[in-house]
């Protein structure tokens, strides 16, 4: 891994060749995967649905994650958002939070007033430390309304089998409706929601030695057309 790419987004311009390569990569992964490994359910036990549109370049085994925008008036004390806020955060949330449930992960993302900070909680199927309701979390300063670092969290959370997981925030482009994350044997799809960065998880390419994780991503518009593909090589920082 080159030093120049560490700990920051390494967005690459979308090109036909790269798009084709990534599309083939997804296809190969899907084609070689064990049918039994394709997830049927999300972490909360609900059915893993397919996205409503066909995603260009993504062949099959696509799982749509769940997303819910929770206004501060509906936060109550039984929601994931309320649970996350029980931790003593430095920041006070403003506006709505975004709760997401994936195959092996669930997250909550908040934004502080004046769009200066995003923060939130990460959770996974694996056993966390002690009796903590969330296995991890992150806090990220915004500069001009944007993150300069994806805030990789790779401590505490793990898969059901005990493998390490990595979580980052991604800020999709304006036209993006779907963010696709390559996972072993399938692709996980996140919808944009609430105007907040999307907290995503990966269950492979998480490197304990070196404290970094690699995410293979593609963004698609509301019709499923691929807008860009890129790799984020995220490094723990700060």
């Amino acid at each position: 891994m080159s030093e120049g790419r560490r700990g920051r987004f390494s967005r690459r311009p979308f090109g036909v060749i790269r798009g084709t390569v990534v599309a083939l990569a997804f296809g190969v992964v899907a084609g070689c995967s064990d049918e039994a490994s394709v997830p049927k359910r999300l972490m909360d036990g609900t059915h893993a649905a397919a996205p409503p549109v066909t995603l260009e370049g993504i062949q099959d085994h696509v799982v749509l994650t769940k997303v819910r925008v929770v206004s501060h008036t509906n936060r109550g004390n039984q929601t994931r958002s309320a649970s996350c806020l029980e931790r003593d955060w430095d920041a006070q949330p403003e506006g709505s939070s975004v709760e997401r449930v994936g195959v092996e992960s669930e997250t909550v993302t908040f934004e502080q007033a004046s769009r200066q900070v995003v923060f939130g909680c990460d959770n996974s199927l694996g056993r966390g430390e002690g009796n903590r309701p969330w296995c991890g979390g992150a806090y990220g300063r915004l500069y001009g309304g944007r993150l300069r670092d994806p805030r990789l969290d790779m401590v505490g959370c793990s898969t059901r089998d005990g493998d390490p997981m990595g979580f980052i925030w991604v800020e999709p482009g304006r036209r993006t409706k779907y963010l696709v994350v390559e996972q072993p044997g399938y692709a996980e799809v996140y919808e944009t929601a609430g105007g907040l960065p999307i907290r995503i998880a990966t269950v492979h390419d998480v490197f304990i030695e070196g404290s970094h994780a690699v995410f293979e991503l593609s963004e698609h518009d509301k019709t499923g057309q691929m807008l860009r593909t890129y790799r984020v090589d995220a490094r723990v920082a700060g």
């Binding site: 120049g4 401590v155 404290s211 920082a237």
Partner: protein
Amino acid sequence: MLHAWKFFAAFAIAFALAGAGTAGAYHTQFIAQNCNYYPPTPTSYMTRDGSITVALYARNEGYQWAGGCWNDNDVDDSPGDPTANGGTGGEGPDCSGFTFKVWRESEDQNSTAFHQWWRLRHIHGPYLAAHFKAALGAPNYPLSKSAAIKMDAFASDHHIGMIYVPNADGTDQIIEAKGEAYGTNVWTRTYRGSSTYNGVRRLGWSQP
């Protein structure tokens, strides 16, 4: 008159070249040119005084987001890096990487063993400041701030610093990687009295 124009032109070119060099100065390639990835040296014990000595080597050596490598020449060899950019490869630790290294922790969050990471060994470790605040990881233990002594730490969601010397007035001399504009050094801080900071202790210190 012609000589004057030639002189002006030469001066302008030299000025432009100097400016170009300055603009690219933050990519000093310090890590690439000076640091290594050698395995750590396991140690059977660790004293607070010994770790203060380790920490002081980083004093005046700068700050690097996601960094973890520095020499001991008392100069930031990569000054002026942009904030929160881990790609510049400069000298110095960031706050959580500094704590990880001084506390001789392992990349394995389940291990409490001591690992001596030498100054030029580039490593950050797996912990964010928020992880230290939450005392995540086997070697990190939550601590009442009133019980905190030298080489214990105070951590918030976005920063961590270790106690160099507690002051009589309730403040502390904190050794910390403070930021790109400040570098790594010792400052008087009020973390002990701040509600946003929690106490955290590295388990297993030998005395003193």
